[in-house]
């Protein structure tokens, strides 16, 4: 099993200018995965990651919970319904939104140091 390098969450989100939607915010991230296909996320995302997507229906919270994903960042200014935010809060998953496109948001996260390296590589 790979032990991911941990990245501090607050500076990454500050670099992005993302708006938090949940009270709960993590301290660290293990990396990032980007996909709008749920099965793809189930197959390839790793626990502790932030997931960038434009999908805002409640299945994203179920998928994130299934994979122990730490945070979901909705791009293109999308924001889920309040009951979905409440559900994420209950599951301990942080939700954020940004007006940036997925590509732009990913670029900023990469520049801020979230480059997906692993500690044992």
């Amino acid at each position: 099993m790979k032990t991911p390098a941990m990245h501090e969450f607050p500076p990454l989100m500050a670099a992005l200018g993302a708006e938090p939607l949940t009270d709960h915010m993590p301290d660290t991230l293990a990396g990032c995965y980007i996909s709008d296909l749920l099965s793809d996320v189930l197959a390839h995302a790793e626990p502790g990651m932030v997931w960038l997507t434009i999908q805002i229906h409640r299945n994203v919270v179920s998928v994130a919970a299934t994979k122990d994903i730490t945070a979901i960042l909705f791009t293109c200014g999308r924001r889920p319904e309040p009951d979905i935010i409440a559900e994420a809060e209950e599951e301990g998953i942080a939700l954020l939104t940004t007006p940036l496109t997925t590509y732009e948001a990913a670029g900023k996260l990469w520049e801020a140091g979230l480059q997906g390296e692993h500690a044992d590589e």
């Binding site: 032990t3 099965s39 229906h57 299945n59 299934t66 301990g92």
Partner: protein, 320 residues
């Protein structure tokens, strides 16, 4: 940030990639598991004198002030000393209590609670539920006690299991078996993941390794969404035994035309709506296969599909 719990509890200096039991516990246990409850509280109209007596008789140094269960403020021993000093000990709590109290949610992980204790240097936090109702009080001592109790329980379980194995007794599966089942309706995308969620909770409570939990959760989630997207309705049953999880997905049709083709990544017959929701990537069955130790799919064009996936639970430390 400083990973206080890791440094605090990481006694395993051996394989750095191995996560210690205490580290897993600090992630998995919630504030609600460790807090003292029910909390000892006072009303806003109670005098500071009454609260002083409450502190003395219950041997506590802070009393939350609540109305109808909602947290309004807190009175600490320092507040009482000030009240005695300045002669307002007989006045009601609400005129002198600290407001805007920092509280923790009952579903927060203990990891997060420890981080809050480090950050704020408070001796205690009131704990509130999702409706802002006060449900308990947590101190660092509560966290330590909770971790010690769980570690002790894990150790006892491990010793008991070892004794069972040594005696050559087969584990009686029926005793520890939990079955989670639910009917799944066609097109009910909003309910996807219900069985998966309940199953994950059972596995978490049993201390099953996160990697195995996630594999079982992926199988249950994909199997459930398959029924929602592709079938005329069905049922999903997760049978959890000490040594394995068996997930069965049974639907009433119309069946998979070509199972081999459906097992190929990218092949999908999903319609427009599920695809817009992010389903129908053609990865469901391949994901299930990847996460299963044993997988059987029987599909009949008339009667429907019966999927059975088995995920073995290996005890931590057992040879793989």
């Amino acid at each position: 940030m400083h990973l206080a719990p890791a440094s605090l509890l990481d006694a395993d200096a051996g394989d750095a990639r191995k996560i210690s039991v205490a580290q897993v516990l600090v992630y998995e246990l919630r504030v609600r598991d460790a807090m003292s409850k029910p909390p000892i509280t006072a009303a806003p109209t109670d005098s500071l004198r009454t609260i002083q007596e409450l502190m003395k008789s219950r041997r506590i140094s802070g009393v939350p002030i609540t109305r109808d269960g909602l947290l309004l403020g807190i009175v600490s021993i320092e507040d009482i000393i000030n009240a005695l000093d300045h002669g307002y000990i007989n006045e009601p709590a609400e005129t002198h209590m600290a407001r805007n109290v920092v509280s923790l949610r009952d579903h927060f992980s203990l990891l997060r609670a420890v981080a809050e204790f480090d950050r704020r240097e408070f001796g205690r936090f009131p704990v509130v539920d999702g409706n802002d109702h006060l449900v308990g009080i947590i101190t660092r001592g509560d966290i330590t006690t909770c971790l010690m109790q769980h570690l002790e329980r894990r150790a006892e379980e491990a010793i008991a299991q070892e004794a069972t194995l040594r005696a050559g007794q087969a584990t009686d599966g029926a005793v520890d078996q939990v079955v989670v089942r639910a009917h799944v309706r066609t097109g009910d995308y909003d309910s996807a993941g219900k069985v998966s969620q309940r199953m994950r909770q059972v596995l978490r409570d049993r201390g099953v390794a996160p990697e195995i939990r996630r594999r079982a959760a992926v199988v249950a989630y994909e199997a459930e969404t398959n029924i929602i997207i592709h079938s005329l309705g069905g049922e999903i049953i997760a049978t959890i035994d000490p040594d394995k999880v068996v997930i069965e997905a049974i639907d009433v049709g119309p069946g998979i035309g070509d199972v081999d083709q459906a097992m190929q990544e990218g092949w999908s017959t999903a319609g427009r709506l599920p695809r817009e929701l992010g389903f129908g990537a053609g990865m469901g069955l391949p994901n299930i296969k990847r996460c299963s130790d044993v997988l059987e799919i029987v599909s009949d064009g008339q009667k429907g599909t019966r999927l059975r996936s088995e995920i073995r639970i290996r005890k931590p430390g057992a040879t793989t």
